[in-house]
């Protein structure tokens, strides 16, 4: 028997540029599901987005360029899809959204593998669906499917989302589940 076990639920109360979710990865599980729903930015911007970074066992956000990430990104549903990512990036994933007047919603399901284990890299696969602005203030839908890795053999205990351009994250719910097996 297996099931998802809710570890943490964090809802944005006061808007902030960075949201840290701490002490959610541990030796209790090696596979986690992160569900992000209903995010809105505080300020409108073309290509508005949040970068996801990881938090180590010292409670420090890993901000250097030790991530590799790649995603297939449908920006608008009537054009050519984009490939976003590469090696040596400073985020493990990107979630696009925008502010409320643009209906700029961000929603994502992510699976994270072996974050706490200190002798392995941390991997993720993710899928997102939402609404953003591009170009300028034109409202469009978006979807993505992607992968990411932190190329550090270190113990990761949490994660963080930071909105680009120092804009705030106004709303959003971040739930972290452990996958229980047996």
């Amino acid at each position: 028997m297996s099931n998802l076990i809710l570890i943490d639920e964090t809802t944005v109360g006061t808007p902030a540029n960075r949201i840290n979710i701490t002490n959610v990865f541990s030796a209790d599980y090696d596979t986690y599901c992160i569900q992000v729903t209903d995010t809105l930015a505080g300020t409108q911007r073309e290509n508005n987005s949040m970068d996801m970074q990881l938090i180590n066992s010292s409670d420090s956000v890993v901000t250097d360029t030790t991530y590799d990430s790649e995603m297939l990104f449908a920006r608008n549903f009537s054009g050519t899809y984009l490939n976003i990512g590469g090696a040596g990036r400073n985020e493990i994933a990107i979630l696009y959204h925008d502010n409320g007047s643009q209906n700029g919603n961000g929603n994502m399901i992510m699976w994270v593998f072996n974050p706490f284990q200190s002798d392995t890299y941390t991997f993720q696969v993710q899928q997102s669906s939402g609404r953003m602005s591009y170009p300028s203030t034109t409202e469009i839908p978006h979807m993505s499917k992607g992968i990411g890795i932190l190329r550090q053999q270190s113990s990761i205990t949490g994660y963080s989302f930071i909105n680009r351009d120092n804009y705030n994250i106004n709303t959003g719910t971040f739930r972290t589940y452990g996958l229980k097996v047996g």
Binding site: V12, A16, S26, N103, I109, P141
Partner: protein, 190 residues
């Protein structure tokens, strides 16, 4: 701290109960036009997981699609939007997308008993009257044209601020019936 954070199980001392909560299971084993989920408990969950398997239709060139009920009324207009990546074992890749579907696109298989389709759909914010309803889907099946594996993943949206309180699975080929389908609906505990 500018956030409301609640720990469960690990740190909070709360009993660790399962968070993937079963809502309803439906099955079709003889010719039926649609499968309906009319009690999705949209006020209890902001993420739903719909799993389906064995989708088969009494026609060639069929595929499973999904429609939403808004406050009890089925939305059949061409207002849904989808973007998918399609991958076929024959080596063909394509990117079907539309801003004017009358459904949420699911998989690419499911034409008859030899070509079933299977998959899952995450549904976001169904019960929120001030939000659009979004989905992410990932499917695997057999394509009728060559009897080879076909898989699709992608996202879709019903860009209307409404309460989605029901789901309907049907076939893309108008006038045909589903001959086999098993589906389970879960809510992800908040």
């Amino acid at each position: 701290m500018p956030i409301g954070q609640a720990k469960f199980g690990l740190l909070g001392g709360v009993a660790s109960l399962g968070s993937l909560e079963f809502i309803e299971e439906k099955s079709i084993t003889s010719s039926t036009a649609t499968m309906e989920f009319t009690n999705i408990k949209e006020s209890e969950y902001d993420v739903h997981l719909l799993q389906y398997k064995g989708f088969e239709v009494d026609a060639s060139n069929a595929r499973p699609v999904l429609r939403f009920y808004e406050n009890g009324t089925l939305e059949t207009d061409s207002v849904y939007q989808s973007a998918h990546q399609q991958m076929r074992a024959t080596g063909t890749y394509s990117q079907p997308s539309s801003t004017g579907h009358s459904y949420v696109r699911l998989g690419g298989g499911g034409s008859n008993s030899n070509d079933p389709d299977n998959g899952y759909v995450y549904i976001y914010n169904a019960g929120k009257s001030n939000r659009y309803t979004h989905t992410n889907e990932h499917t695997a099946g057999i394509y009728f044209g060559d009897n080879a594996l076909i898989s699709e993943f992608g996202g879709s949206i019903l860009p209307q601020k409404s309460v989605v309180d029901g789901l309907q699975i049907l076939t893309w080929s108008v006038g045909n019936n589903i001959t086999n389908l098993q589906a389970k609906l879960f809510g992800v505990k908040q």
